[in-house]
Structure formats: C-alpha cells, structure tokens
Symmetry: C2
Subunit: 207 residues, 2 copies
Amino acid sequence: METQFQSELLDAAVTELSRLPGIGGKTALRLALHLLRCDTSVSDALGNAIINLRHGIRYCSVCHNISQEEVCPICASTSRDASVVCVVENVRDVISFENTGRFNGLYHVLGGVISPVDGIGPDRLEIDSLIERVAKGNVREVILALGATMDGDTTNYYIYRRLAALGTDTTITQLARGVSVGNEIEYTDEITLGRSLEGRVPFNTGF
Amino acid sequence: METQFQSELLDAAVTELSRLPGIGGKTALRLALHLLRCDTSVSDALGNAIINLRHGIRYCSVCHNISQEEVCPICASTSRDASVVCVVENVRDVISFENTGRFNGLYHVLGGVISPVDGIGPDRLEIDSLIERVAKGNVREVILALGATMDGDTTNYYIYRRLAALGTDTTITQLARGVSVGNEIEYTDEITLGRSLEGRVPFNTGF
C-alpha cells in the first residue's frame, strides 16, 4: 500500500480539497467520502462548476468586479447612476452592498487595501484606474466604503489625497460609522460609541 | 441582475459547494472566491479530482472497501493474513486501523450499523456477505470492531448470533474497551472505567 487512503483517486481528491482555506486533512477526507456516496450527477456538477468558474469568469474592465463579459452587468446597466462610484475592497463587498438594495450607483473594486504589514502598497491595488476614472470628469460622488480598520482608514485617506489632488469638483464621502442596527448601547465598544456621538445627525422618522 | 452573485458561474459554484456537508452559503462563497484568485491549474486539479473520484472508485467485491479494481489491494495482498477478518462500519475505520500499523488481516466493511431509530436494518448492511465469507470456512477469527455505541453494540451482538449459528470454529473477538491511552483516570467516565476494571489483563511490560 503506497497510497494514504487505499486509492490514488481518493488521495488526489483529499489533497486537492485540503488546499482550500479552512479545510484540513480530516475535513477533506470526510468531504471526499461524502462525494463517493453521492449520486454521480452531484459530484460531476460540483467538479464542473469549479472548473467552469475559473475559466469563465474574468474581471470587469471598468470596475474590476467579477464578470462574464468585458464590462460587468452593473457597469453596463442603463438604469444605474454612473455618476456615483462606491470604492470597495473586494467582490464580497459588492455582493454585500447589492444585498442591501439601497445603492444604485457603480462600484470600483480595489482588490485589497494598503497594508504595510503584508507588503501591499497602492501600486498593487486598482487605485490608478480609479483616479483615471474620476479624472474623466463624469463622477459626481466617490463613496469610500472600505472596512473600518486601520488599513481601511489608511487606504481611504490615501485615495482621498489622490482624488483631492485632481482638482475636480467630485464630492468624496465615506460610510457613516456608528451603532450597528439591532445593537444595545451597553454592548457597543467605546470607540464606535464615541464616533456615533460625534457624528450625530438630526432625528429622522423615515427609517 | 437575476443572479445572486453577479455571475451565473459563481452562482453555480456556490450552489454546488454549499451542498457539501458542513459548508453553508457564506463558506461556499468564500471558497468560490478563493478559487477565483487561484491559478487555473489549482481549480482544474480540484474539479477533475472530484469528477474522477466518483467515476474511478468502486467497491471491493470481497470486503466492500473502496477500490479501483474488482478486489482491493488489501484483499489482494499475499502478505496479509486472510484468516483474520476485522468487521468495521465504514471506509474511514479501515483507514484508521491501517494507520495504527498493527493489523495485518483483512477487513469487512458493513456500510453502517443497525439503527432502529434511522430505520437501518441488517438487510441494508453487508452482513449476509460477511456470513457467507465466514461460512466458506477459511476464517480463523472475526474481530468485531464497531463503535462503542448502542447501535454498535446491537450490531456486534446481531453479527455474533449469526456467526455462532453457523457452527464453524471461528473465534469471535471484540476490541478491548478501557481507558484511552494518554487519558487521566479522573477524567475517564465511570462506564469506561468500570469496563476497564472488569476487563483487566495481566501486567504487560511490552507496550
């Protein structure tokens, strides 16, 4: 027996599954044995979906969101407001904002945030293409919507400086920071609570 | 936008990944986006490994372990003791026993245990084939190695009765039950401790 799990095919499946993030050897074996018990159509569908995913998806040439076309459906939509651009870190963030159903502008996916610790500088992100997009002059507002982390703040500030240097009359906004909807005051951390106080707004019955 | 995640291909991958046990929608999306960032060779290897697994693996006609041939490498081996058969619940158990490096007999994979609660009767398991295998007369010992659970005990007992009724001189043994290696006495449950006392053995310096 030179194989680890009685069969080269099972070995291969376990090896490949355990390359996925958060999936260790034991989980990979459990998943592979589950697939063995499934109908062939189920495992074929999974295998083909994974292969087709990587071959069929590319990135939108405008906003760098995932897309199956040269330009993604959001950028290509005529019913969206192309003068508002929401700057996000990654594709998951686009999905999150789309799920709110409260945004009708376009996106710009940076592909990460500036992180000196991880060696990620501005040149590794889609920042130049954002500046070019705004420099063309049709963007009324840029919403900086990066995570409320130190790296997110650094990146927001870096982009703000670059955009301000353009001299266009684009408004630059950022997401409101405050108490999460549904959260109790007593369980909200002090920094968030402090910011929500500083950033207080006129009472609003519309929500 | 009729798609959930900006692309039918991503939707398909997330849907198929989330069919796997223990993988919910959020994890499936995270895995799919990870695959998108990987090199094409990585996602192709995973997809193909999954497809090939299900098409290439069948079950050994003797012991019902997974196999790529009619008879698995363990049953086909000439260096193993074919007169000792270890009865296990599933393929994972075969892997566990093989990993101990302390068993040189053959296996018989039942494919489950008798479970009245889940509606699994003896006819749904590979018990008849075990009885036939022993009835042929070349089996010196059958080791009942099912889990130390109520269903495992029930199944052990059912098989014991069927084997005893054969009238062959096969020895029927079961796994020793006692304190797990590395466990403290004070943290061992009472039933296990009681059994380890009842089943005490002459002091042995060989381990």
